[in-house]
Amino acid sequence: MIEFRSVTKRFTQDAVAVNDFSLVLPSRKITVLVGSSGSGKTTLLRMINRMVDPTSGSIEIDGVDVATLEPVKLRRSIGYVMQNSGLLPHRKVVDNVATVPLLRGVPRKQARLDALELLDTVGLSRTLADRYPSQLSGGQQQRVGVARGLAVNPNILLMDEPFGAVDPIVRAELQQELLRLQQELDKTVVFVTHDIDEAFLLGDQVVILRTGGLVAQIGSPTEILANPVDEFVSSFVGADRGKRSLHLENHGGDDLVVDSEGRLAGVLSTGTKAGTRSGPGAAAQGGVRQ
C-alpha cells in the first residue's frame, strides 16, 4: 500500500506542481493518475521513488516513510517504466534488462538467464536479446522497458506514460499485455497517462487531476463515468460531448452503437462477449454488453 499524506510540491515559489495531495493506493491494484499537462501526475509518480522529494507532507510505502529510505536502494526495489523506454543505448537488450539485478549483486550468468526469462514474460523473442535498443521498434523497446522494470521482482511498478509514444495498434496490444501481466504478477501498479480511455481500461482506481496537482475525482471507472462530480470531470471523460451516452440504431439488421453526436462507437454483438475484458473499461472503449 502506498499512501500520500497531504503532499505538496513547489518547484519555485509560484510553480505549485502538487497541492495538498492525499491518496491511498491499494496493494495489488492498478491506480491510474490521469490529467493533462501540468497536472502534476508525473511529479506524484516520481515522489514515490524519491526522484522528486515533496516540499511538505509524506509518502509511505507499507507504513514506512520513503524520506527515511536511501534513494538509490529504494529505487532498486521499485520497477520504473518510462515513455521513451529509457533504455541505455550502448547496452544490449539483455544487459539493459539485467542492469539493476547486476547492481544488486546477482551473478552475471544468473542475471542473464533471468533477463531472458523476462523477455518471454513480456512477449519478446529471445533472439532480440543481443540486439541494441535502437535496432528494435518502439513497441519492442517499451516491452524491454517493462521487462527491465520487472527485473528485480518489485512489489511496486511505476509506469510513466509507458505507451504514450507508440502507435494506436501497438498501444492497444501493450495495454492488453499489461492487463495479462497484472493478472499473473499481481503488482501494485501506479500508471500515469493523459489518455482517459487508457485510464478507464487499465485502472482499478482512477485519479483525475486538474492543473496544479489538484484532485478532481477519485474512484473506479464505473463511479467516475456514472457520477462525474463536476463539469471538469465530465468534460475530461467526454461525457459532456455525448461521447459516453450511447444508444442503439438499427442498420440493415445489425444493431449499431452510436453516441449522442451520431458517431459510430461499435456493433452490438449478441450472445458473445464484446471484448477480452468486460466491465467499465470495455464500456469506455465502446463495447456494450447485453
Binding site: R75, L88, A165
Partner: protein, 246 residues
C-alpha cells in the same frame, strides 16, 4: 635545386640520423613531450569536465576560463613562465598544458551534455548511483566527444611544441631555431615537414580511436530520427544541468 627538394634531401641525409641532433631522437623527444603534456592536461581537465558535465555546475565559469586560456599567446606565456621558473623543460610544459586544457575540458563536458537527459534520468530512476551513472552511462556515451577534444588538443600541442626548443634543447623545434640562426632554410623547412607529418599521423590515430569508441548501439541509431514528444510536465527542467545551460 629548389628549397623543397633541399628540405627533402636534408630529411634523407644520413648525417642527420646520428648524434644528439638525430632526426629519430628529435621525433621521439617531440612525441614524448607532446604525450606527457596531453596526459597532464587530461589529468587536470577530464575530472573537472566530468564534474561540470554531470552536475551542470560551474559551466559558465569553465567556458569563460577556457576561453580566456585560449586567447593567451603561447609564446608570450612561455617567455613569462621561463622568466619565472628559468630555462629548461618546465616552462614549455606549463605553457603547453595550459594550451591543451581548454579543448579537453570542452570535450569532457560537452560529451556528457550531448547525452539525452532522459537516458540519464531513466538510469537514475531504476536505481543507479551517481557514480554508476557517470561510469556506466555518461563516460561511455560521452567518450567520442572527449576523444575529439583530446584530438584537437593533440594537434595544437604537437604543432606548438616546436616552441619548446626556444627555451629548452628538445624536440623538432630545434631544427627551426638552429636553421633560423644559421640561415639554413633547408633544415628549417625539413624540420617543419617533420612536424607536419607527425601532426598528420597523430590526427589519423586519434580519428581512428574516436570512431572506435562510439558505442555500437549508438552507431546503429545515428541516422534514425527519434520522435521526441512528451506531453507531461517535465520535472527534469529543474535538473541542475538544465539550469547550468540557462
Amino acid at each position: 635545386m629548389n628549397l623543397f627538394a633541399q628540405a627533402v634531401q636534408w630529411i634523407l641525409d644520413p648525417l642527420n640520423y646520428v648524434g644528439v641532433n638525430a632526426i629519430p631522437l628529435r621525433v621521439f623527444e617531440h612525441l614524448a613531450f607532446t604525450l606527457v603534456t596531453l596526459v597532464i592536461a587530461s589529468a587536470i581537465a577530464i575530472p573537472i569536465g566530468f564534474f561540470i558535465g554531470h552536475t551542470g555546475r560551474g559551466r559558465g565559469l569553465a567556458v569563460s576560463v577556457a576561453g580566456a586560456f585560449r586567447a593567451i599567446p603561447t609564446l608570450g606565456l612561455l617567455t613569462l613562465v621561463a622568466l619565472w621558473i628559468g630555462i629548461g623543460l618546465g616552462a614549455p610544459f606549463v605553457a603547453l598544458t595550459i594550451l591543451a586544457i581548454p579543448p579537453i575540458l570542452a570535450g569532457a563536458y560537452t560529451g556528457f551534455e550531448a547525452i539525452d537527459r532522459r537516458t540519464v534520468d531513466a538510469a537514475r530512476a531504476v536505481g543507479m548511483s551517481e557514480g554508476q551513472i557517470v561510469r556506466g552511462v555518461e563516460v561511455p556515451l560521452g567518450l567520442p566527444l572527449l576523444i575529439g577534444g583530446i584530438r584537437s588538443a593533440a594537434l595544437q600541442v604537437v604543432a606548438t611544441a616546436t616552441l619548446a626548443a626556444y627555451i629548452a634543447d628538445i624536440g623538432l623545434g630545434r631544427y627551426l631555431f638552429t636553421g633560423l640562426k644559421t640561415r639554413d632554410h633547408a633544415e628549417m623547412l625539413g624540420g617543419s615537414i617533420l612536424v607536419i607529418l607527425l601532426a598528420l599521423a597523430l590526427e589519423g590515430i586519434f580519428a581512428t580511436i574516436q570512431r572506435f569508441v562510439v558505442p555500437r548501439g549508438v552507431i546503429s541509431s545515428r541516422s534514425k530520427v527519434v520522435r521526441v514528444r512528451s506531453s507531461r510536465a517535465r520535472p527534469m527542467v529543474n535538473s541542475a544541468v538544465e539550469k547550468g545551460t540557462q
